[in-house]
Symmetry: C2
Subunit: 339 residues, 2 copies
Amino acid sequence: MSIIKKTSLKDIAAKAGVSPALVSFVLNGKGREHRVGEQTIKHVIKVAEEMNYQPNVAAKSLRSGKSRALGVVLSDISNPFFAQTARGIEDAAAKRGYTVLFGSSDEYAPKMDLVVSSLLNRSVDGLIIVPCEGSEDTIRELVRNDVPIVLFDRPMRDMNVSSVSMNNYAASHKAVLHLIGSGFKKVGMIAYDIELAHMQDRVRGYSDAMEESGKKSDITIGYVKISDPYKMARKIIPRLIDSGVDALFLATNTISLACLHAIKEIGIKIPGQMGILGFDGNDAFNLFYSPISYVEQPIPTLANKVVEVMIEKLENRMALVNNVQIEGKLVIRDSSLRR
Amino acid sequence: MSIIKKTSLKDIAAKAGVSPALVSFVLNGKGREHRVGEQTIKHVIKVAEEMNYQPNVAAKSLRSGKSRALGVVLSDISNPFFAQTARGIEDAAAKRGYTVLFGSSDEYAPKMDLVVSSLLNRSVDGLIIVPCEGSEDTIRELVRNDVPIVLFDRPMRDMNVSSVSMNNYAASHKAVLHLIGSGFKKVGMIAYDIELAHMQDRVRGYSDAMEESGKKSDITIGYVKISDPYKMARKIIPRLIDSGVDALFLATNTISLACLHAIKEIGIKIPGQMGILGFDGNDAFNLFYSPISYVEQPIPTLANKVVEVMIEKLENRMALVNNVQIEGKLVIRDSSLRR
DNA sequence: GGTTATAGCTAAAACGATACAGCAAACTTA
DNA sequence: TAAGTTTGCTGTATCGTTTTAGCTATAACC
């Protein structure tokens, strides 16, 4: 059985002694519907299998306007969080007969437009997008043009668009309460200086947890630029320490790594001198001299869900907006346990 | 300027008052060649821009049999090495006007066949493949059918197929000489029990370096299963220690992480009790209590090169087989320095 | 002035799959 | 038995491009 395709509907039709149209009906499972005889159906299917028929995707797309392909715009596919997401989406989509095209926006709106544009050109049926700062207009335009989209990781409220993301507020809230409950006096947070919902939610989760614990005046947030978290972490951490912070809640994967580097460089003892709670699991977390506690995003579940919502939208023409939130899990190791 | 496309060649033709064929000539840069008048060319281009023309990829592919898309079959896109590779290939391809479709084989030949098949269906122009164990027949068949392919990471010798990979032999050789030069007495290696060229080359690099250093009798290789390196690392490392090994050369990314976990668990001091040299950079390497030395693969260079070789093959119909080897770099940290 | 070049364009047939309209034969029905 | 119904199939237009062959003016030539 060859992997190579070259037989067309016409070839099968010729060999089976029927018309191409009939072959098309049969192979699309519409034989019955089109009153094709039972034995003809069987015969056509047999011939198609013998000839190892593989439909020409371009022709199908051209004719139908559909491609059974999903476009996925990630921030950066080489970032472990998104790499795992990509993998999850690939698998979930394949299970439902869809292929996936990826593109990286690099958290830069003009690049995102480019990628979106290129994916639409390839006539994907829908777009799963991790929207970056400043991409609201693009998203709005896509929605206005009825391009099926589902946002991932970062919802956009007050916009008519579905999304799948972790419940960032709840996860952060829980994480910070854990640090406080663990005995840390002044918990600080390091976050990105962006307005995207996921980041705002994480910040709110932190702030509310602090406030509820009677530590409103201790709220201390260091903001780092998404473009260069490493350099800024090195600058900010000493400042936070000076201000009496004895534990840090780190708002993302990359921020966590940047801060761990800085912490190692400066030579701060974890958790003795400083409690740490990061985001998204990571080999480095486990191998750090004091294993790092973190908020775990259920990536496979998220990936599955986003594909499900997308395909629901595509195939059942669900117009309604669906904002799915999935709960995160707190993974507790040494770094957040005061001793 | 809308991101959405719907204008066709015909629309432009109508608006510009010419035939669709002429528009096609002009927009493909073949205006001159087809003796289209200078001002007609300018006019058509202007109209096309005004209408924000985006060619229909499906129609183009159907007509031409080409898709300006490359299929890339990786081992697992969520593995950092391949995630970075994916990113590099994406960028390099985009720069040349190609899109990329990814698939993961999970180091399992039947899955690889599935992915290859699905990519060919999408009529990619060529395939970049990280071949897995047991995929020789598939590769051979692709070659036989003139599917343009370039292997990545793992060459297959004595097979008529181009490849781009690091010079694994040289890198390993150098790495092991470094460990020996650093004063370690008995350097062991942990490798996968597979026959793929890249692994064999790494093993040969190790063996030859040992032999050249007069340590032929000290050659000690622990093999782990690619399906579960973690469990096996935990079993093998104590055995190697018992046999007097005082430094380990770890043959891959994943093996390195698996071993670091085991080493941390068992409580071995690096580099005091054991020297370590791993493969492929990693955040965990830097953050380990004793930063880990490693063989660095020049991923962006490799990715660029593989796309270059592929496109050369596609566009210049280069039939000749091209086996590119790129030198790796030894990154020396604490873990490989005896004190 | 009649033939041949040449410049500038168009018509139409593909590529492969799909869907609509419709045709012929067999079978009902009154 | 004539009219109508059902069954099983086919012809053909279509999606948006590309490409080959060819058409019509005008210019060049002897």
